[in-house]
Symmetry: C2
Subunit: 431 residues, 2 copies
């Protein structure tokens, strides 16, 4: 990597003229005096700031026009915070939390010597970058893999579930899964179904802003998740993220009722059609739901999957031949993302009939995302019911796909697939 | 049809015991005395109400437990309001509006003699069912076809556009297109692109509740749309529907920035990431946008289409072979509904590379729906850029599909397709 990675224009000029490289320990005089390490920048933002990692572990952005003086700080040992290998002592009076790292922005730090994004490897590093954590829980960490979440595949879900399963009888109060945000709600759904009845709460935590940005939400999301896991006295699988653009509230969403509804906002995750299950505000937990997360009480893991499930989003001009290709490719289930109350055009009927005759399970959800499919209201809906399409109530399309992968992984019989798709497992339906 | 269509349980028993059939003119004594005609019910709701069409044209639901007396009303001539064929005289002081009917709940009435849903055919019928309309505009009607909107195909779009095109120099103040709600935003987008620069405003109007329900929103949506068309002094293509569950506000959404976001609510339509362009509240129009709807001033219709455009919604477990089928089927453009800022898994790269080498246009949108794709932030995004995927800013996925059909219908050259996909035509991008 370049010694100025991510800097350009004015900020690059500023570093060069002061003979400061990325990774240098510096002392900066601006409104006050700052000491820290110059971080590389990986997002193509403006050229007016430099990013400094403070001793506390936080990054801040400093406007170069307000910097009166910058100099190398020989008293700070370069890389000290990262290379230090002090052991974290367990505090017997605090609850224990297991953090499983799968990758994504949240679980990464940028190595300013190589420019590589590498996972947070040790509890020491985690505690040094988010020092508040060690005051509320003993966090033990384990790296499962290191993937951005667009590269998380069903095989990764299996690995996470198999790992979590082993901790059903442990002294952990809860488990954090650090995960990229892109496909977090797919993973949370798979864990909700496959680990039904898991006795302690699980929180998937991500970060919308990368850790080299001053506005990173990683630390607060982690702190909120730990508070939730140690104090909520619940179980289930949740996604814990910023509620909105403020740094005040962390929302815990039911893992089967949540979507990423904005590409970049910190409050990107929303519970569909409802408030989040829990809010963490001013260090206090507010509970919004009364129902139990799992439909069963006993932990009964079913960690299997069948990937032969297709999602068909209908739109005007959708060519039924594409559906025929899916049938011919041996798919076991098709989840339609229909229009409105659960419709697809009548030009689809012949192929739908064919799929039904082949015993392929077909479930209907709505691309409206919010609201319930109701296929008895209009003639088109009744036609589709007669052709064997099963309305999936108000299950979110993406979650229905995951559930169908899980259900068809556990049985091949049509009647059992249908029965299980309609049976509440992990709060995927609401009334 | 049965003489009791849609009634069951208590309400059926009530009608039978009083010897009243659907279609009978009745007088009902409840809190006050009502006169009207018993309507059939087509939605499977409760058995506690009967629905009465009043002389005003409105339907109301009456709770049978509160009905003190019901009797046939011989003084009301059966079917009189429908069979009456009085001509509607044009009022020279009022603006003229053209209403094109394409089908859907809004444009339908239930014939209580046959049970069939039939289109509102004449201006007389429209004015008799929504009497307020004749006081604010002269409405002329034309039936194009009668399809529920899940059956509206790109060929229907062409027919609507060809019809509307003829009225670019007319004495109409605006055009209403009565349309089913399911795919209304797809149609509004096609009209926005193909009729760019059309001089008078166009409003697509639908109804979320069928006209045999007391809560039907058809009348208010129509009145709101007429107010908007006659008073807004704008052009462009909009969707005019209830803003929320109240009967107070009609929202006019930009036709390329709107989605149906709830399966059944009256306020189902929302402008993505913004307020509606116009609100009609207390008979007054409130304008929220300053920008011009169309990027061009001159009317320059381009009414062509190519249906060889595929929408690929990526999810974990999506099999790249499905994308290969699309390539092999001769598609001209692929719109990805990627995750987060615009990503798909790296297992897709080989097939994406193949599509690029074949000269297929590939555009990236986000299944987050709200927010902008940004493919320079993470390595995965930069990989996809190198493989030839074009980020489509914050275009809504469904609208990007329609635009790609329109663009590829007008040119086959890759560079022109790319240029036109990225060029603002009808407010499909916001800044």
């Amino acid at each position: 990597m370049s010694e100025y990675t991510g800097y350009n224009g004015n900020s690059l000029e500023f570093l060069k003229s002061n003979k400061i490289l990325v990774g240098d320990a510096v002392k900066i005089l601006a409104d006050i005096t700052y000491s820290g390490i110059i971080m590389p920048r990986y997002e193509h933002t403006d050229d007016k700031h430099i990013v400094l990692k403070l001793k506390s572990g936080y990054n801040i952005g400093l406007e170069i026009s307000k910097i009166k003086k910058i100099e190398k700080n020989s008293s700070v040992e370069k890389n000290s915070s990262v290379e230090k290998n002090s052991s974290v002592e367990k505090n017997g009076s605090l609850p224990n939390i297991l953090l499983l790292s799968t990758g994504g922005t949240i679980a990464s730090k940028i190595d300013y010597r190589t420019g590589a994004v590498t996972p947070i490897l040790t509890a020491e590093e985690l505690n040094s970058s988010v020092p508040e954590l060690s005051k509320i829980a003993n966090i033990e960490t384990k790296v499962l893999f290191s993937e951005y979440s667009e590269n998380i595949m069903p095989d990764h879900w299996l690995k996470i579930a198999e790992t979590v399963k082993e901790y059903s009888k442990s002294d952990y109060s809860g488990i954090i899964i650090a995960h990229g945000t892109d496909t977090m709600h797919y993973t949370s759904s798979y864990l909700s179904f496959s680990l039904a009845g898991f006795p302690i709460p699980i929180a998937l935590v991500g970060s919308q802003r990368s850790s080299d940005r001053a506005s990173s939400d990683a630390a607060l999301n982690l702190i909120g998740a730990v508070k939730f896991l140690t104090e909520s006295k619940t179980n289930g699988v949740y996604i814990a993220m910023h509620q909105d653009e403020n740094d005040e509230t962390i929302a815990c969403h039911i893992g089967t009722r949540v979507r990423k509804n904005h590409t970049s906002k910190r409050g990107a995750f929303q519970t569909v059609g409802n408030n989040p299950a829990f809010l963490i505000l001013n260090n206090k937990i507010h509970k919004n739901i009364e129902k139990k997360f799992f439909a069963i009480n006993e932990f009964n893991p079913k960690i299997k999957i069948n990937e032969k499930v297709a999602l068909v989003k209908y739109h005007p001009g959708y060519n039924p031949d594409l559906l025929k290709n899916i049938i011919d490719s041996g798919y076991k289930a098709i989840i339609f993302e229909g229009t409105g109350l659960g419709h697809i055009g009548k030009n689809m009927y012949p192929i739908v009939k064919m799929a039904n005759e082949k015993g392929i399970f077909m479930g209907m959800t709505s691309q409206c995302i919010d609201g319930r499919v109701r296929m008895t209201v209009y003639e088109s809906g009744r036609d589709l019911l007669n052709l064997g399409i099963i309305p999936l109530e108000n299950m979110i399309p993406e979650i229905a796909v995951v559930k169908a992968m899980w259900v068809t992984g556990n049985t091949e019989k049509y009647d059992e697939i249908k029965e299980n798709m309609l049976k509440q497992v992990a709060s995927e339906f609401t009334t």
